[in-house]
């Protein structure tokens, strides 16, 4: 029968017969279709699958569209156009397709999504995009009459955990570990565990603001001397650095330094890197710092400082003021350790055997010289060795710099044929 119909259609071209193919898109409703991807079993719901990962929600795809408007922009009188305009009937007209239609629909449908990743400016970002750790939580709220002007609070650790409670089953909690500081020596840290994420952040902030510590800073930019401090399995080694060095530390320690007001320091964490233990070890070590007077009294000798920026001029920091005079070289035992650096670390020394290996990355293989790490080193050798010389050279060659390097012709070609025949000049990039 279909075959007969087909032959009939071929003879009469005005009639168009389109066989309707039945499929799920035509037989089943939208709700049933969506159910196939959004439905979650009871057991799954208990495990929290319906909320986060299985989070495809039913979207009404009809929103943003009108009956009569589709991909081909046709004016149907009675549907999306008036039947009579003035005295004449409106014809069926096909207008050119609307290029913005797809975009508009996408925008409408995207607005239906609840969870969208907002773009955050760099100054407000945390450590990574995935976790809110490292982000600023603003000023702490004032307690009674104490206002916390100039204070900033930062989230160090944010964890979600579950606890099995009798009769209820599993319950979700969020733990927040926040540090608060004003950049001038005052810091505090606090922890909170609540069911709501926002509440735990605020609670931790208030706890931290209540428990402030004062940390003395040397010359407004660094610690007084090197120290080593361990807390459980986290070991922190901090070293004093001259102004201009910067904070070369783990991100948590750098965050704390910014809150305290330390600008130049080197820190190395050995052992377990647990954020809470890191902060506790670091702050403990800072509080345990001794004044120069204490150091001088401990050894009954004068403590002298040599700074490289002052061309190693000996500056007397402290003399022993116990009442007893400084010891003479005869009174000092020749085996006594007077190395200030070692005394700061309480006798610990660095294992420097691995330094040569550490300076090369793990992917540097010695037999691969034509590509890889060694080729990169050879390419960069000139820049690193002749850094200042290249700067001087480029400064000298101000006007003529590009002429000698880029080799442009002197005359500007107006001849079209010459332009067509001209090949792209071989560009010599200066070794900057």
């Amino acid at each position: 029968m279909l075959g007969a119909l087909f032959h009939y259609v071929k003879k009469c071209p005005q009639v168009m017969l389109m066989p309707v193919r039945t499929s799920i898109y035509t037989n089943v409703t939208a709700q049933d279709l969506w159910k196939t991807i959004t439905s979650v079993s009871n057991a799954g719901a208990k495990r929290g699958r319906a909320k986060r990962r299985g989070a495809t929600k039913f979207k009404d795809l009809n929103l943003g569209q009108r009956i009569g408007q589709g991909k081909s922009n046709i004016q149907w009188p009675g549907l999306n156009a008036p039947v009579i305009q003035g005295r004449e009937p409106v014809p069926i007209v096909e207008r050119p397709p609307d290029p913005m239609r797809e975009q508009r629909l996408l925008e409408v449908r995207n607005r239906l999504d609840r969870f969208r990743r907002l773009s955050i400016p760099p100054s407000e970002r945390g450590f990574t995009g995935g976790s809110p750790a490292g982000k600023s939580l603003g000023q702490p709220e004032s307690i009674n009459e104490m206002t916390f002007e100039n204070f900033d609070s930062r989230l160090i650790e944010f964890k979600t955990l579950q606890r099995t409670i009798g009769k209820i089953g599993r319950k979700k909690f969020t733990s927040a570990f926040v540090a608060v500081g004003n950049g001038q020596g005052l810091v505090g840290y606090g922890k909170a565990l609540t069911q709501d994420a926002q509440q735990s952040l605020q609670k931790a902030k208030t706890v931290a603001a209540r428990q402030l510590l004062y940390i003395p800073i040397c010359d407004g930019h660094t610690i007084f001397h090197d120290f080593y401090e361990a807390y459980y399995f986290t070991k922190v080694r901090c070293e004093k650095r001259p102004p201009g060095y910067g904070l070369r530390c783990h991100r948590i320690i750098a965050l704390l330094c910014r809150l305290i007001g330390i600008k130049d320091m080197y820190a190395k964490i050995d052992g377990a890197i647990n954020p809470q233990n890191v902060t506790k070890a670091f702050l403990r070590g800072l509080l345990k710092q001794k004044t120069y007077q204490d150091w001088a009294n401990a050894k009954q000798l004068h403590l002298v400082e040599y700074r490289p920026e002052d061309d190693y001029f000996p500056r007397l920091l402290a003399s022993p003021n116990n009442g007893q005079p400084a010891r003479t070289s005869l009174e000092i035992d020749p085996d006594e350790d007077l190395d200030f650096e070692r005394l700061c670390f309480e006798g610990r020394t660095l294992d420097k055997r691995q330094s040569a290996e550490q300076s090369e990355p793990w992917y540097a293989t010695k037999d691969k010289t034509r590509y890889g790490w060694y080729k990169y080193l050879r390419r960069r050798h000139w820049e690193t060795v002749q850094e200042n010389a290249t700067i001087e050279r480029l400064a000298r060659m101000d006007e003529n710099r590009y002429d000698s390097y880029y080799r442009y012709p002197d005359e500007y070609h107006t001849d079209v044929l010459k332009q067509l025949k001209q090949r792209v000049p071989h560009v010599w990039y200066p070794r900057v």
Binding site: H225, E239, K240, R241, P242, P243, G244, Y245, K299, L301, H302, L303, V304, E305, Y306, R307, P308, E309, D310, D311, Y312, F313, P314, L316, L317, P325, A326, R327, T328, S329, I332, L338, F340, E341, E392, A395, R396
Partner: protein
């Protein structure tokens, strides 16, 4: 500015010398010039050709012991300013030491010595004269190469400025090198760290003015000391321009306790521009320094009226008054500051 690269070869037998020698010399050059100033001046005097009566060599006067003593007195010796913090590119670790009383004393003495070495003054000299001697004219060798060849003696034990540097031109003449060629050859074979082959743009007139506007005098003078020899025309131009600018802006105190204060004072006395400096000293109650300046004036210009003063017994106030009457070029300024100085003195005396 293009300069062709000349081929440098040497035909004297070279011995591989110990590296420590050059290393020590380079380190020392940071504190003082590459050769002892006295030897330098001797050599320059010996090699200078013209010495007319009107042209007196300032170097000969500068090196005199009494002049040096006076200049060191004027310069002062403030250790905190000699070892002041420079722009900190050195991010090395800070060193802490435990010292006994005796060791502390020794360290202090050592720093005083180091300070004195840092205050060694670069001399003020006349411009070196180029004397190119033609050693041989051989036209048969003409056209042997497309560029001239320079030769330098790199055998051991010869001071750098004494080394023989000769050039063989393209037309075959063998001659001693010009001043510029000598400078370049010395820097290539006996380099001083910090010294550039091409004069840094900073010393060109336009750029120099910009730095002078910023009053960054120590930068210019220190770098000029490293870059040039004291008898080079560029060094003389740069230092004289800097001293003129300091005189105009009355910022003499910037250079106190540095190695450049002595040469600056010598320059003013040599060209008889002492007035502003003296008034600055009086306003800072440095009457002894003012008298030392007058003594310097007497040594450098023995023909002037100041040469007739007697410095041993007379009251310093009388000396200054006499100077204001006789030789001062801006007597009004000087007398004004002198009057203020006397007033301050009397007030101090009356207050007790």
């Amino acid at each position: 500015m293009h300069f062709k690269i000349e081929k440098f070869t040497f035909c004297f037998i070279t011995f591989g010398g110990p590296k420590t020698d050059k290393g020590n010399r380079m380190f020392r050059s940071v504190i003082r010039p590459s050769t002892c100033v006295r030897c330098l001046l001797n050599r320059i005097q010996y090699s200078s050709t013209s010495k007319s009566k009107s042209e007196v060599d300032p170097g000969a006067v500068f090196i005199r012991k009494d002049v040096q003593d006076l200049l060191t007195n004027i310069t002062g010796f403030d250790l905190s300013r000699i070892f002041r913090t420079r722009t900190n590119k050195n991010l090395d670790r800070i060193v802490y030491k435990y010292l006994t009383d005796k060791q502390l004393k020794e360290e202090k003495e050592k720093t005083v010595e180091r300070g004195r070495a840092k205050l060694q003054m670069p001399p003020i000299l006349t411009e070196a004269k180029e004397n190119v001697e033609i050693l041989e004219k051989d036209e048969m060798l003409g056209g042997f190469s497309t560029s001239k060849h320079l030769f330098i003696d790199i055998s051991l034990g010869v001071p750098i400025r004494d080394r023989l540097i000769v050039a063989r031109d393209v037309d075959g003449t063998l001659r001693t090198a010009t001043l510029d060629e000598k400078r370049r050859m010395r820097q290539i074979y006996f380099p001083i760290s910090g010294r550039e082959l091409v004069m840094p743009k900073m010393f060109e007139e336009e750029q120099l003015e910009k730095i002078l506007e910023r009053r960054d005098y120590q930068l210019i003078l220190d770098r000029a000391c490293i870059q040039f020899e004291p008898d080079e025309s560029e060094y003389i131009r740069v230092t004289h321009r800097t001293f003129e600018h300091i005189d105009k802006t009355n910022s003499y105190d910037v250079l106190r306790s540095t190695r450049h204060f002595g040469p600056m004072a010598f320059y003013y006395v040599w060209f008889k521009k002492v007035d502003r400096l003296m008034s600055d000293m009086l306003s800072r109650n440095l009457i002894n320094d003012a008298v030392s300046l007058l003594q310097l004036y007497a040594i450098i210009h023995p023909d002037s009226k100041v040469g007739t003063y007697e410095f041993h017994d007379t009251n310093p106030h009388r000396l200054i008054e006499a100077f204001i009457d006789d030789e001062a070029r801006i007597p009004d300024l000087l007398s004004e500051t002198f009057r203020q100085y006397i007033r301050k003195n009397q007030q101090a005396v009356s207050n007790g």
